[in-house]
């Protein structure tokens, strides 16, 4: 396995093959699923499926699920050159998945004023993603 080298932020180090593979899989999968889900949502809107259209919470949460799946997919793809260690890669990949899944599940079995309990996955996923982002930021500042 190639050892990651410290490089300036402007020229990211080469990622390990394993990490690159993980983020490539996570990124493209999230993008594929997120985009497909977005198109599905649009279709449901187009055909005025009341189960989605008339339920404001579900509509909003699933739109967030779609957006976050796409955004997290892109983040994973962009992250590949900066990957540092298996732990961080796993944290980012898992966190990236938990956020859209949390929004998706939050749209099910929700009360009138709040998302369903699945929404609890969102802060957990966010904590994982943010922890990776913070560590990358620190490294970037340290040079």
């Amino acid at each position: 396995m190639a050892k990651s080298a410290q490089s300036p932020a402007s020229s990211p180090p080469a990622a390990s093959d394993a990490a690159a593979r993980l983020h490539g899989r996570a990124g493209w999968t999230l993008l594929a699923v997120g985009l497909a889900f977005g198109v599905t949502l649009e279709a449901l809107e187009a055909f005025r499926v009341s189960w989605v259209v008339a339920d404001l919470w579900r509509n909003r949460l699933w739109a967030l699920a779609h957006f976050h799946a796409d955004a997290m997919g892109l983040l994973n793809l962009v992250y590949r050159p900066w990957a540092r260690g298996a732990g961080e890669s796993r944290a980012l990949a898992i966190g990236s998945a938990l956020i859209p899944v949390g929004f998706l599940l939050g749209g099910f079995a929700h009360s009138e004023g709040d998302p369903g309990l699945g929404i609890l996955l969102v802060p957990v996923g966010a904590a994982l993603v943010i922890s990776v982002a913070v560590r990358q930021a620190i490294r970037a500042w340290r040079g």
Binding site: L56, G85, G87, S111, E112, G113, D114, L117, A127
Partner: protein, 615 residues
């Protein structure tokens, strides 16, 4: 010693443990908070805007209701009347309705009897009538002219309430701050200064909003900013003591939430009127209504007002806004005991048709099925009427339309078994003859005795004329109104809708001769309905059904007579030999023309003097 990488899983595990512990503590705290929460009747109001964020569905369903639009600021969006410069003449006064940009004006008599332009400040009502308030000094005044929403025409309130001809034009020009404010708004405070005789009225929200039924909600809203508390309430289904849910109250308290407006009442003790007028109604949902007010009943004392005119002689309310009193008198209410009937059994505030606030199924026998499933299942046998007909509709017999309000007769809320003798013992409309409009009260009593194996009443009346006509021509004003409505009511129709066309010439008599505009209005409407329904089966009537003349019940007598004459001539011009002949109780001669002597005789029995039965 653990390496950096080795410590990472431990850190995540510790964080997860800490998060779980924090969540556990938060859940316990929320549970304790829910269980210790108490109603806060003196808390500030949150208004519907404060409720909407957590209750969007309830907010949306409330926005569909006429409760929401009961009182509104006058804006182009809220004003529905025709203010295009239209003129309307009533009681010798020609009023004009004008619009200038986004402002609305009514030119009509002021309190001193001079013509003046009044700017419309607020509107009241949005279902049947829209009434208009103008601001004069420290107070709002309700003007006596209203827009009839359903018929899309102006009307004088004397024709909406039960006022006889000759009533003063300004009888219904009345103070809003000390009257209407209480039930048509949320958190009303007239702010009357007894020293200076001035109002400084304010409301928490115009119209009947969330907190009119759920109580002041700011404490509830504040405490439920905590999401853990909200999830706890949602998943446990526990009641939140910080807010009132009427369906969770005891039956007695639950009906009081509705009854505090749908049941005219008097401050109790009477001196409490000072508190009402200065601070507002002290009642909050969940309170015992009896602490502050007593429902107005037939034996109540109200200085200067004959309250008995508002009730049938057996004590049953005969005006709307007394539904609470009717329910209290119903056997099914069980005195407020658990299992007793409540408003919420039939009515829904957040679903169904906003008209009547009833889901569709609650307009029929299903309304009774939850308590009387066996009777509903064998309704034909129970009622002695044909299955599927109007005679097996529980409402027809147990909640007949004997309550007058806003140009219509409505089901009574005193639910009781039919008893034909009420017609002559209490001079009130009775279920049997409200449908069997061609039959006498005597026939009803004899049939009822036979069907239900009861003894024939010993005091059977001698009168053999159909009760609907006896009441229409010789009853008191509310009897006449009920009879006029029943003659056009769909329930009274035989299988062949032409079979009720005989009512037209009698309704024409009422249109011409009755001394109450409201009765004349109902008579004309019923005549129109009878003709329209018959036309569906008799094509030669279609042209007449489409060209019924315009009728203003407050018009000059000669014009009314002309319209009544049109209806009379319509009947006379029909090929009556092709019509089903009604029972002999209907006073028609061999040519099927009304027997004038019977009409005159019944007319002489109409009670005098006339009474005004207002709000």
């Amino acid at each position: 010693m653990a390496t950096g990488r080795g410590r990472e899983p431990l850190a995540w595990a510790a964080a997860a443990l800490l998060g779980a512990a924090a969540l556990g503590v938060a859940v316990r705290a929320a549970a304790a908070d829910v269980r210790g929460a108490e109603r806060a009747p003196s808390a500030p109001y949150a208004t519907s805007a404060g409720c909407q964020a957590c209750h969007p569905d309830h907010d949306a369903s409330w926005r569909r209701t006429f409760h929401r639009t009961m009182t509104q600021q006058a804006t182009p969006a809220s004003v529905v009347g025709d203010f295009s410069g239209r003129e309307y003449r009533a009681l010798g006064v020609t009023s004009r309705f004008l619009r200038q940009d986004d402002r609305f004006f009514i030119e009509t008599l002021d309190g001193q009897g001079a013509m003046r332009r009044h700017e419309v400040a607020r509107t009241v009502g949005s279902r049947r009538f829209q009434q208009y308030l103008t601001r004069e000094g420290d107070r709002y005044l309700r003007l006596p002219l209203a827009w009839n929403i359903e018929e899309r025409r102006w009307l004088h309130l004397g024709a909406g309430f039960l006022d006889p001809d000759g009533t003063d034009f300004n009888r219904h020009r009345s103070l809003w701050d000390g009257n209407c404010i209480f039930c048509h708004n949320t958190g009303p405070q007239p702010g009357y200064d007894w020293e200076r005789s001035r109002f400084d009225s304010r409301v928490e929200e115009l119209g009947i909003a969330c907190e009119a039924c759920h109580g002041p909600g700011s404490s509830h809203a504040d405490r439920n900013r905590n999401p853990v508390r909200r999830y706890w309430l949602h998943f446990t289904g526990e009641a939140d003591g910080t807010i009132v849910t009427p369906t969770r109250l005891s039956p007695a308290r639950s009906v009081q939430v509705c009854g505090h407006c749908h049941g005219q009442r008097l401050p109790h003790p009477s001196e409490r009127i000072r508190q009402f007028m200065s601070e507002g109604d002290p009642f909050r949902p969940g309170d015992d209504l009896g602490t502050y007010t007593q429902p107005l009943k037939v034996d109540s004392s109200l200085p200067g007002v004959d309250v008995t005119a508002r009730f049938w002689k057996d004590g049953t309310p005969r005006l709307t806004a007394y539904e609470y009193q009717g329910l209290l008198m119903s056997k099914d209410f069980k005195g407020g005991a658990e299992g007793g009937l409540t408003c919420g059994h039939c009515h829904r505030m957040h679903e169904g048709d906003p008209k009547g606030m009833l889901p569709p199924e609650m307009r029929g026998p299903a309304a009774c099925a939850s308590c009387h499933a066996d009777l509903v299942a064998r309704a034909a046998e129970h009622s002695g009427h044909r299955a599927g007909g109007s005679g097996t509709d529980c409402y027809a017999c147990h909640l007949p339309k004997i309550t007058y309000g806003l140009l219509g007769m409505h089901p009574t809320h005193r639910i009781q078994d039919p008893e034909p003798s009420r017609a002559w013992r209490y001079q009130m409309p009775e279920a049997c003859t409200l449908c069997h409009t061609d039959r006498s009260a005597r026939w009803a009593a004899e049939s009822w005795s036979r069907m239900f194996k009861k003894p024939v009443p010993e005091d059977l009346p001698e009168e053999t004329v159909a009760e609907s006509l006896r009441a229409l021509l010789g009853g008191d004003v509310v009897q006449r109104a009920a009879a006029a409505e029943s003659l056009g009511d769909e329930r009274s129709y035989a299988e062949d809708p032409r079979a009720r066309l005989w009512a037209v010439p009698f309704l024409a008599v009422a249109m011409e001769r009755d001394s109450y505009p409201a009765v004349r209005h109902l008579a004309e409407r019923s005549a129109r309905r009878v003709i329209a329904r018959a036309a569906a089966r008799w094509p030669e009537l279609e042209a007449q059904a489409r060209s019924t003349p315009d009728f203003d019940p407050m018009d000059e007598p000669a014009r009314r007579a002309a319209v009544a004459g049109w209806y009379r001539r319509l009947w006379e011009g029909l090929d009556r030999g092709r019509l089903p002949r009604p029972d002999a109780s209907v006073p028609l001669d061999e040519r099927l023309l009304p027997v004038a002597s019977v009409i005159d005789r019944l007319g002489r029995t109409a009670p005098e003097p006339a009474v005004s039965i207002g709000e």
